[in-house]
């Protein structure tokens, strides 16, 4: 990690080209898909065949690309920025987290196996299971 590289921690961890405007990370709109899993299209922010309309479309725009915080905001995802360390963390959409608790549908999550491979909890769909969160501490 150097001062020139920005690490973005969303569902995945990415290091796209970022232009910093003060504490606002600005990214190329074509990178949104890899950063957030949502692409900016004429109909809004889209993931597979689901699109979320963007009410303040001009509010996303910046001379150097799109304002990542504004995009996350439009998706209802909380953002935390450390402009000095060039780190950005973007959480799950608030509505998605809350709905999972109300609907009682087990949210999918990305974790690692002990070999360091990325795995999805949904790989065990179709089986009754106990999800046990433990720790070494």
């Amino acid at each position: 990690m150097t001062a020139d590289t920005t690490t973005i921690l969303a569902e995945d961890v990415t290091t796209p080209a970022v232009t910093w405007d003060g504490d606002r990370p600005i990214v190329d709109p074509s990178h949104l898909g890899s950063i957030l899993g949502w692409d900016l299209k004429p109909e809004g922010l889209c993931r597979k065949d689901v699109c979320v309309p963007v009410h303040d479309r001009p509010g996303l725009n910046h001379a150097d690309g799109v304002d990542l915080c504004a995009v996350a905001d439009a998706l209802g995802q909380p953002v935390l920025v450390d402009a000095d360390a060039h780190l950005v963390a973007i959480g799950a959409a608030t509505a998605h987290r809350q709905q999972a608790m109300v609907d009682r549908l087990a949210p999918d999550a990305s974790v690692l196996d002990l070999q360091g491979n990325r795995r999805l909890l949904s790989e065990w769909s179709g089986t009754r299971r106990l999800l046990v969160a433990f720790s070494t501490w």
Binding site: T7, D84, I90, M101, A106
Partner: protein, 190 residues
């Protein structure tokens, strides 16, 4: 119960895969690691061990509950493990859920969510050699979620603090004084 379309999925809320590996020795079910604290954020897991029962259709049939795998800490926590194992067997074999299964868990509140984001930034800053940023974000996370063990205690081994020492007992005392807040089924001491 391995032949009954049932499995345990153990997920460590840890950062160091090598530290978790010994826990997986001689264990036949999957052992995974939530290095990014994504699972704990989505499931509102604020302490360990937390167990969630999920059926074959991905429904949470019994939400977050503190369920130890042994009675090693029963004197401390007041929770025994055999009752839970019996409840699990009854669910798997007869489809009967315990009375507390319909408890509605509150999602993390905005401060707790921000605490998770700070924690995630801190672990990445630490890995990237940005010690000052790591320290700052670990501190901010613990301040925003002072009773979340996955944050406050989870940060201890990453900041050179003994997670079994005085800092832990300080956290535990504060947690009890706050009424033992937990996102899940409340437990009475047995």
């Amino acid at each position: 119960m391995a032949d009954e379309n049932f499995t345990v999925i153990a997920v460590a809320l840890d950062e160091n895969l090598a530290a978790v590996a010994p826990f997986a020795e001689n264990i036949t079910y999957p052992v995974l690691v939530d290095t990014e604290h994504q699972m704990s954020e989505l499931y509102a897991i604020t302490n360990v061990p937390t167990v969630v029962w999920i059926d074959e259709d991905d429904r949470i049939v019994r939400p977050n509950a503190m369920e130890p795998g042994s009675d090693m800490f029963t004197e401390f926590t007041g929770i025994k493990c055999e009752g839970h194992m019996e409840q699990v067997r009854t669910w798997i074999r007869n489809g009967i859920l315990p009375d507390d299964a319909d408890h509605e868990v509150q999602a993390l509140d905005p401060d707790e969510v921000t605490a998770h984001l700070h924690f995630r930034l801190a672990t990445h800053a630490r890995r990237g050699g940005l010690a000052d940023a790591a320290e700052r974000h670990f501190a901010a996370a613990s301040e925003l979620a002072p009773n979340d063990f996955t944050i406050v205690r989870g940060a201890m081994p990453l900041t050179g603090v003994n997670p079994f020492g005085a800092a832990f007992f300080e956290l535990y005392g504060r947690f009890q004084e706050a009424g033992s807040p937990y996102h899940g089924i409340p437990r009475a001491r047995t």
